[in-house]
Amino acid sequence: MTTTDIRVAFDRAAQKRRSSLFRRFLRHPGGWIPLAIFLAIVLVGVFAPLLAPMDPNFVDLTAAKAPPGPEHLLGGDSTGRDILSRLIYGTRTTIWGALITLITSVVIGVPSGVAAGYFGGAFDRVATWISDALQSIPGMIILLVVAAGSRNNFEVLMATVGVFMVPGYFRISRSQTLAVRGEAYIDAARVSGLSDGRIIFRHVIKAVYPPVIIQTALTAGIAMGMQAGLQFLGIGDSNVPSWGAMMLEGFRLMLTYPLMLLWPSAALGLTIAVLAIMGSTLAELVQVRTPRVSRRRADAAPAAPATGSARHEAAESALRIENLRVTHATPSGETEVVHGVTLDVAPGEVVGIVGESGSGKSQTVFSVLDLLPSTGRASAGAIWVGGKDVTRATGKARQQLLGREIGYVPQEPMSNLDPSYTIGHQLVEPLRATHGMSRAAAKARARAVLERVGLTDPDRVMRSYPHQVSGGMAQRVLIAGAIAGKPSLLVADEPTTALDVTVQAEVLELLRELQAEYGMALLIVTHNFGVVADICDRVIVMRGGDIVESGQVDELFAAPAEPYTRELIAASLDDAAGRAELDRAAAQHTEVTA
């Protein structure tokens, strides 16, 4: 792809997104209704001289504090000026002021944010510090200083309000630019010699503008609020009609003429509310929403026949699932990812589930634990754990099995420990909560299992936080946590995949030892036939949510029935051979250069 191609493709994508975003905004009731109201308010402001029934500063002493009537539709204020006319002209003031504020903050905030995100370095650090500092200054105090000095000059004040809104734009432009800067197409553009200026104008701006527009809707509302607040404090030219000043007057006469407070407050409240709603709708439309799974059963397509089979009596198995189906809610509707699988594990048996990513093997495991993500839903003909039927068991009852009957070893060691608690706490808490152990007993057990999984200094490990230990140690900690409750079934989801090659063998060896020592059944998920050969008695091959083949490990290796199984085995061997070759090449290279 040349840069031009990339650019055209990206332009088109952006254009499509923009038009569809705007169209979706107009179709959404939270979009077009507030937009229509807001446009009406803007038009009232623009055409104020045509719409207002009289001069906003014309004093008619007979109309002072007059109630609404035919001559003064909303009545007169304390000096006899027409409230409706002042309200209409006040709209103009409000919008003009907000415009000054917005222009100031966008002109300062967006370019500096983009530059800070794009170039980084000293400019980024200084600008970020200034932005943070600006955010920690109570703006109203500075505004009052400026008001005193500028003799209440409206434009200067509104521009100063804008300065205090700069951090919002700065932060959002900076973070958005940082995100885009890491994208491949920016690198491609740079490598092909496009200048920084062109990259920023052609690519970065496109990523920055949607959040900037959302920010603008919110900022406009807040700016109008601050403007009215200043006017309410009595700052500003009394001859310029403004909502804030009208609110101040109405507030002073609140007890006798409450309507005088109502009109400007309603106008301000409505304007700010429609802006806020527009901003929120835009934010919602831009966001990628996670679909929610429907609790009712989807109209099932003609169900494919279940695959796989059980080999043992249900009452004598450690685990048995029959016709397990897992569906996930996706943006385009519900998708079934496991199409009815049946399998079982005998006590003390080691069974591997092999398949590539997307084969449904992890989803099967999570269903066994009853810990599918919130978008997923499992249904099964039958589930037996430890020889007991738990098909109809409540969520609570299924939860009771965890930590007692079933232990779980996850794939990625670092992300599976809570970063805020010490390792010791994470081991001790379940023992106390689910096994009702005393603190001392739980600590002793935690210490013992840590020692058992090969950690030589268990006291230090227990005091450590997850980020203070290595990946291999973290995985041992997780194994310790899984076996601490002495489960009869251990479920391991790719327990070695995320580890260094040297550590993989050790962890696998440890699992084998523990399995034998505790007499546990072990269900191990992997994509690697090497792991299967090392540790498993029996293997189940999954593909696309179905079980395609299963059997004793020796038999399956000797004579795989399915071509898919043969491919998987070959891929595992290739991988090993390939790596060995690479190692040899690297060694030779070192010799040559040495």
């Binding site: 920690s136 105090i141 200083v145 939860q399 608690y421 899984a482």
Partner: protein, 313 residues
């Protein structure tokens, strides 16, 4: 941890100095002729010159600043130009009022905001979640003084539950003090409540998707216990907003105090700005920034306690 705290304190002092310099020169630039503002338009040039000499305005600006700064580091903020009383003494009278309202508002914000954020974050999509979301959109944008007006009309004028105006010091009556700051605090807090709630909700949802949540549940921990883990990890987001809100509340208090006739920093700021009383304005700025720095320091310490990684960095 010590290094981390020292760094934070130094950064706070740097901010304090930077803002002091900024405010000093901004004020002198903006209020080009303070004597006119102080004496009114009827004063003769001779009177103006006499005042200028008395308050040191006839000296070069840099010298005036140095004079101010060298006293300020010893916590002496000079004399007010309006009534020639020490700035510090007047601040000492006004600060407790504003601090009562702002602290009370922060407490309300934190308690209710965290509660709402927890409930909506742990169970997104429920009717309660939708109501809070709908409310938050509008409440966040509406200025505190607008809300104050509504509350005053409703609770003070119509229902007469709370006094509409005035301040009762806690030394006089604790009950009266609480009643006098309740409405101002609520009007200030409403916007913050929804901001904190929204932040915490998003953070809770993000934490719920973490791998370790599944692992904790796989150990047999009850939903309540797992939720506590989620909350602890989600709380930095909420705390950061609370600290930011505090700055916004100080700003908002200036207008809200006007509505409830509270004799706090807000009134003092407004008066001083109209009178061109620069030493008073500087004193107010410094004391506000001190609050902000202290709050941020507390926040950092709490964040360090929650997230052990911060402590090491």
């Amino acid at each position: 941890m010590l290094l981390f705290t020292t760094k934070r304190v130094l950064s706070g002092i740097l901010l304090l100095v930077a803002v002091s310099i900024g405010t000093f020169f901004l004020a002198h630039l903006a209020i080009s002729d303070p004597t006119a503002a102080l004496l009114g338009t009827t004063a003769s040039p001779a009177q103006q010159a006499a005042l200028a000499e008395k308050i040191g305005l006839d000296r070069p600006l840099i010298q005036q600043f140095w004079d101010w700064l060298s006293h300020a580091v010893l916590l002496d903020f000079g004399m007010s130009w309006r009534n020639f009383q020490p700035v510090g003494a007047q601040l000492a009278i006004k600060v407790p009022v504003t601090l009562s309202v702002v602290t009370f508002a922060t407490l309300i914000t934190a308690l209710i905001g965290i509660g709402f954020g927890m409930i909506t974050g742990l169970r997104p999509g429920t009717w309660f979640d939708r109501i809070i979301k709908g409310l938050s959109v509008v409440l966040f944008a509406l200025p505190g003084f607008w809300v104050s007006l509504v509350l005053v009309i409703w609770f003070a004028v119509q229902l007469k539950w709370f006094p509409a105006v005035g301040y009762v010091p806690p030394t006089q009556s604790v009950d009266g003090w609480l009643r006098s700051i309740t409405l101002p605090a609520i009007s200030l807090a409403l916007g913050g409540i929804v901001a904190v709630s929204e932040q915490l909700r998003n953070a809770v949802i993000a934490q719920t998707r973490q791998d370790w949540v599944r692992t904790l549940r796989s150990r047999g921990l009850s939903a309540t216990r797992v939720n506590l883990h989620i909350l602890r990890n989600a709380s930095p987001a909420a705390l950061t907003v609370i600290a930011l809100m505090f700055v916004g509340l100080l700003s908002g208090a200036i207008v809200v105090e006007q509505i409830f006739s509270l004799p706090g920093l807000g009134q003092l700021t407004n008066q001083s700005s109209q009178n061109g009383d620069i030493p008073m304005l500087l004193g107010i700025t410094v004391i506000s920034i001190v609050f902000v720095v202290v709050i941020n320091l507390l926040l950092d310490l709490v964040l360090g306690w929650i997230n052990p990684k911060v402590r090491v960095a």
